[in-house]
């Protein structure tokens, strides 16, 4: 089963002074308020964060419901928007794979892949033995997931008291926090180039294809950074 000590160690990582808990909570407060304005009730709002747990996906779903989109178009739109989770999983789970750990831990805990939990794990995994990393990861994921669910409920109830300027302030928190985390992670040539080129190419491709801009920008920027980095090392 899950090792309690490792789980708690992961869970407590959001209590650190520079943890993403505040930024994450503020974003889901904004989502909770948005879902109420779209017409969700409290159960639907909380349930959506529990099951989806990905901000862009929730935004796309809310917008799609507003315009009366079909279930198939919601599925495709959300899949495109959240396809970034695939490379995030592939760049994280090999660090945790251990033959002695049951597979269900990996299949269930992949639900916790989100920017905040991913960045926390990336900056802390080296301090944990490989065989224990998945339990540590489940702790981190459970913590960020709980914060998101509670914040969604809070946002739902605060919706009537939040004006436009306040919602705007809450909405900028997450991009700024993640920008700082990404800049802080720029310690190797490959990561520095990945972040810089991704930040340039993502918006550039938006002019050609808004739906594909993130994936195309990420694919091309990441590949260029990889090849330059590899060439530089060799």
């Amino acid at each position: 089963m899950i090792k309690r000590k490792l789980f708690l160690k992961g869970y407590k990582s959001i209590l650190k002074p520079d943890s993403p808990a505040i930024a994450l909570a503020c974003c889901f407060v904004a989502i909770g308020a948005l879902l109420k304005n779209v017409g969700f009730n409290i159960q639907e709002s909380v349930f959506s964060t529990m099951l989806i747990y990905a901000l862009p996906g929730s935004l796309v779903m809310a917008e799609s419901i507003l315009i009366g989109a079909s279930l198939l178009s919601i599925f495709i739109a959300v899949w495109f928007v959240n396809a970034r989770l695939y490379p995030m999983a592939v760049s994280l789970f090999p660090l945790m794979m251990d033959e002695n750990q049951p597979k269900w831990k990996y299949y269930l805990s992949c639900h916790f892949i989100a920017v905040s939990a991913w960045l926390i794990m990336k900056s802390n995994y080296e301090a944990i033995e490989k065989k224990d990393r998945v339990d540590f990861w489940i702790g981190i994921g459970t913590a960020t997931w709980s914060v998101s669910i509670l914040a969604t409920a809070l946002g739902f109830y605060l919706a009537d008291y939040l004006n436009k300027d306040m919602l705007m302030g809450l909405a900028i928190l997450n991009p700024i926090y993640f920008t700082c985390m990404m800049v802080g992670a720029m310690k190797t040539l490959q990561i520095t180039l990945s972040v810089t080129l991704g930040a340039i190419l993502g918006p550039v491709f938006y002019f050609f294809s808004p739906e594909w801009s993130i994936l195309l920008g990420g694919l091309i920027a990441g590949s260029i950074a990889y090849f330059i980095g590899e060439k530089n090392v060799s």
């Binding site: 505040i22 930024a23 948005l34 009730n41 639907e44 349930f47 959506s48 989806i52 996906g57 419901i65 279930l71 919601i74 959240n82 970034r84 989770l85 695939y86 490379p87 995030m88 592939v90 760049s91 994280l92 789970f93 090999p94 660090l95 794979m97 990996y106 992949c110 639900h111 991913w118 300027d165 306040m166 705007m168 302030g169 809450l170 909405a171 900028i172 928190l173 991009p175 700024i176 993640f178 700082c180 990404m182 800049v183 802080g184 972040v195 930040a199 340039i200 993502g202 918006p203 808004p210 801009s213 993130i214 920008g217 990420g218 694919l219 990441g222 590949s223 950074a225 990889y226 980095g229």
Partner: protein
């Protein structure tokens, strides 16, 4: 819960879980020291950077009501505070929320 909302939530969660699950399946045969792992690491960082840049430059939701100028000022000032505070994540984050709420009224 209304059926249409419930179905939308389930469909959205399945579409989201699919990418996560496929990522885990692919990870089983990838070693952390391999070249393909390093490539995916670059792809993940680049995709996240693209997502964040797009969120700031072409936002949806509440942030779309803020002008380009006010968003640019907040991002630049927040990054300035990030470096001034020796790469502390909390100060620029809190600063960004407060300054965004205020600056948007002037630009």
């Amino acid at each position: 819960m209304s059926v249409s909302v419930l179905l939308s939530i389930i469909v959205t969660s399945l579409a989201t879980y699919l990418s996560r699950f496929l990522g885990v399946i692919s990870s089983i045969k990838i070693k952390e020291t391999s070249k393909i792992f390093r490539w995916f690491n670059c792809l993940a960082y680049a995709t996240l950077a693209a997502l964040i840049a797009r969120t700031i430059i072409f936002p949806v939701g509440a942030l779309s009501d803020a002008s380009y100028l006010s968003r640019s000022i907040v991002v630049l000032l927040s990054l300035g505070i990030f470096f001034l505070t020796k790469k502390n994540f909390v100060y620029p984050t809190i600063f960004s929320a407060i300054s965004m709420s205020i600056i948007n009224n002037y630009f």
